[in-house]
Amino acid sequence: VKRTVTLLACGMLMGVGLVSAHITRPEVIHGWLDFTGAWDPTLLLFFAPATAVFHCMFRWARVRERVQRGPTLCLPGVRRIDAKLVTGAALFGVGWALSGSCPGPALASLGAGVPWAFAFVAAMMAGLALGDYVGVLFMSPSATRARPGPPSST
């Protein structure tokens, strides 16, 4: 029960933050992306404190993990900057600019019950499901061939 309440509360903090910041409005995103025109840094005002707070809590979580007072952190192990990351981010930017929305604001708008958000979130969920099929294209032929054998030590 305690865990359920914690998880819900974490989500609620995110939802309250997104909407009270008003970054759910597409013009905030279009303004951010208009670097060579009427550039509007409002989005940075949202991201700076969010990243700063998260950074402090990340350090705290790492200390708690080390002294075995907190959960083991489940963090992405990949460190490589590869074609999959760059292509994915580029494609993400296309959708971001076309709609003026991204997963956070779209889900927050869905919570507020506006019709466009249902269409966007449905397409986004389909995209998240399809993403793994597109991801196969980025597997190197050697990685595919090596699969049946024992894992290499490199």
Partner: protein, 135 residues
């Protein structure tokens, strides 16, 4: 446009929510990661993500009663464009393993070089698209 302190406060609250998730559960709360988990995970792994997203929907719904002008109600792109954009966002976030919140807040907050690259790339590609297709 809303006042700057409200934007900053909202950012702080969002970071706090993500931070609490990491401190208490050891999990990262990028939105596309949570939403992607609904599709790709099963059982308990899916359930905790659903709870966070449910909290987000409820929190957003409640706050939109206080700030009704924060939600875009009209003037959004046509349905085909919205669906196309949603597909790009979904596929892109899955390939890049994160979205604006996952890379921009959790990733940059962990000083991950992958996330910094992702933020630069999606901001640049968004800028280019906006040069060609007006919002």
């Amino acid at each position: 446009m809303s006042s700057w302190w409200l934007v900053g406060l909202g950012g702080g609250l969002f970071g706090l929510g993500g931070g609490c998730l990491l401190v208490t559960q050891g999990r990262l709360g990028g939105i596309s990661g949570l939403a992607g988990g609904l599709v790709h995970e099963r059982g308990a792994e899916r359930a905790w993500r659903a709870l966070v997203l449910l909290g987000l929907l409820v929190g957003a719904a409640a706050t939109s009663q206080v700030f009704p002008e924060a939600i875009a109600r009209e003037g959004m792109p046509s349905l085909p464009r919205l669906v196309g954009a949603g597909l790009c966002v979904g596929i892109g976030a899955r390939l890049a393993n994160g979205c604006t919140s996952g890379h921009g807040i959790c990733g940059v907050g962990r000083l991950s070089s992958r996330s910094c690259i992702a933020v630069i790339v999606f901001s640049l590609s968004g800028w280019l698209v906006q040069k060609v297709v007006s919002p």
